[in-house]
């Protein structure tokens, strides 16, 4: 287990400013303030830090996109919405080392020339918002954050905003819309937030962990960061592991760490000594891996990519060999159906349909073409939506069906001819085995999921 970002997180006293200062808190901010902002951006760029919120976009590059004109207000928005199922690493960081998070926000803001920053937290993290707010009050009272931060002449105001329960507020433009007091309908890009973001002003949105990394990098240098990890995946990563493991929790690992070593070591192995069936490595929005596929992988961007999946948020969900994959997929599909914001038709309708078809399969009411139908609905969502939720909803459906096909096929009714033959002379079979083929085709086209499914 690496100890770069989480070095101080095990000590509850870190929440208090005096303890945190003794452990080196805000030295990175101090260092940043001694440099012109462009040099801070250059340092982060040199570190190779990539966004930890899911997409892995290089942070230094993102910061360099901000070119504010006279009279514009630049905003830094820290994304603490953390709603990707299986992800709870930001929860850990905010709870255990709030000053590290605040320091990261302050550095990010300074680097892009922002004097205003918001930390947008999901509504369910209200108790964590109190921890963070207490830390912010302390940092303000000590003149570290506020007008004239640490006597540098730089002014910064940080505001904590709580959401009210909607996954889509984690999507960067959804977050911006929510913060503006609108329904969190994501925006069409371009224009990108760097040009027209919060209140149409130049804006950067960064994940909590990304900014925490920036704080360490400014304190200890880009080189020290690159000492961790692999060439293209620099640094460490917080992995939140949950599901069928003995020791679920948040662990910091070197990027490049062997996945199986992590599973058997940090995570304590599969619960109850069972076998491993599958792993979702980075939150439900990335394709699942079979145990066989997972075995040779390492925890980093390239290795995951080589296996056709993604490191994503680092929300690792582990499935034991007693799991019903169709049942598990239904739970995931229902999540996307519930959380689709409804702005674009393919996602709004498609996510509802995928959940609906899975539900009827599991209820023993599947129809012969249902697996093809599920995949087709997915194809019709992917690439045709405003934000990434639509694409994300397709990844689990497609990968579960492809990789665990026999389990899904077992839910299908007997072939139609067999049904017709068996039922000859006894009237049509009803209920469990579904309607005859012609009817199935027609009703597929007309009968949608009931509103409750949406």
């Amino acid at each position: 287990m690496a100890q770069y970002l989480t070095r101080n997180a095990l000590d509850p006293a870190q929440r208090e400013l005096q303890t945190a200062l003794r452990a080196g808190a805000y030295l990175g901010f101090k260092q940043a303030l001694s440099l012109p902002p462009q040099e801070v951006v250059a340092e982060i760029d040199a570190s190779g830090l990539r966004g930890r919120g899911g997409a892995g976009f290089p942070t230094g590059r993102k910061w360099s996109f901000i070119h504010a004109k006279e009279g514009q207000t630049v905003y830094l928005l820290c994304n603490a919405d953390e709603s990707e199922p299986g992800t709870f690493k930001d929860h850990y960081l905010i709870e255990r080392d709030p000053h590290l998070v605040l320091e990261g926000v302050a550095i990010g803001a300074y680097a892009i020339g922002a004097h205003r920053a918001y930390i947008y937290m999901r509504g369910e993290y209200a108790s964590l918002a109190e921890t963070l707010a207490a830390a912010l009050r302390e940092a303000m009272a000590a003149d570290i954050i506020g007008p004239n931060c640490m006597n540098s002449g730089y002014d910064l105001r940080i505001t904590i905003q709580l959401g009210a329960g909607a996954y889509i507020c984690g999507e960067e433009t959804g977050l911006i819309q929510s913060l503006e007091g609108r329904r969190a309908y994501p925006r069409v890009r371009p224009p990108f937030p760097a040009v027209h973001g919060f209140l149409q002003e130049p804006t950067v949105v960064n994940n909590v962990e990304t900014l925490a990394c920036a704080a360490r990098i400014m304190a200890e240098g880009a080189e020290a960061f690159k000492d961790h990890g692999t060439g293209r995946s620099a640094g460490t990563k917080l992995i939140s592991v949950s599901g069928a493991v003995e020791r679920p929790g948040v662990y910091e690992v070197e990027l490049g760490y062997p996945l199986m070593e992590f599973l058997q070591g940090e995570a304590g192995g599969i619960r109850g000594g069972r076998g491993l069936k599958a792993i979702i490595p980075g939150g439900t929005s990335v394709p699942v891996l079979t145990a066989e596929e997972a075995a040779p992988l390492t925890i980093d961007y390239e290795s995951m990519q080589s296996a056709g999946t993604m490191l994503g948020s680092g929300g690792m969900i582990v499935f034991g060999d007693d799991t019903s994959m169709p049942q598990a997929l239904l739970r995931i599909a229902e999540f996307y159906a519930h959380e689709s914001c409804g702005e674009c038709t393919p996602c709004r309708e498609g996510t509802g349909w995928m959940a609906w078809v899975l539900r009827r399969l599991l209820a023993g009411e599947g129809r012969p073409g249902d697996l093809g139908l599920l995949l087709r609905v997915g194809d019709n969502i992917e690439g045709r939506t405003i934000c990434g939720l639509g694409d994300a909803s397709v990844q689990p459906v497609r990968s579960f069906i492809r990789k665990f096909r026999p389990e899904f096929e077992a839910l299908l009714p007997e072939p139609v001819q067999a049904v017709a033959w068996q039922s000859h002379g006894h009237g049509p079979r009803t209920g469990r085995f579904g309607p005859p083929a012609e009817e199935a085709t027609r009703s597929e086209a007309v009968d949608g999921p009931p509103t409750a499914a949406l």
């Binding site: 505001t159 009210a164 329960g165 996954y167 969900i317």
Partner: protein, 152 residues
Amino acid sequence: MLSKDALREIEAARAEEDSPRHALLTALRVTQGERRQVGPEEITYIADLLGLSPALVQGVARFYDQISATPTGQHVLSLCRGISCYLCGADEVAAAVGELLEIRPGETTADGRFTLRLVECVGDCDRAPAAMVDDRFVGPVAAVAIDNLTKM
């Protein structure tokens, strides 16, 4: 309709930006906290307070799961039905809790103390099956423990 503290919190959010609309999210949260609902009356009130149209306020209010159109009980008991919690027996716990409280998800106990909700991943998956009583994380839960919680 709202307490002085609540109004102060909304005013503070409003002072952050020139756009009064920015304070709407905070206004909805604060109102839900005090009134346990954001129904038609609350919507009109917030609209007046921020100088926004009631239709706009309603549109935003209905977007969020934590803002409810009808009154909740004194406390909201949220059980996570997310994938990680599902893998740790969340369905069984939810069924047992429903039986214990004699209500279904979305309903409120006869004495008005608890509203039961099934929610998506709450970001506490290492304490699965995760649950919250209002803003407090209380996982991992067993039905027995819930019995104690609801008796507090």
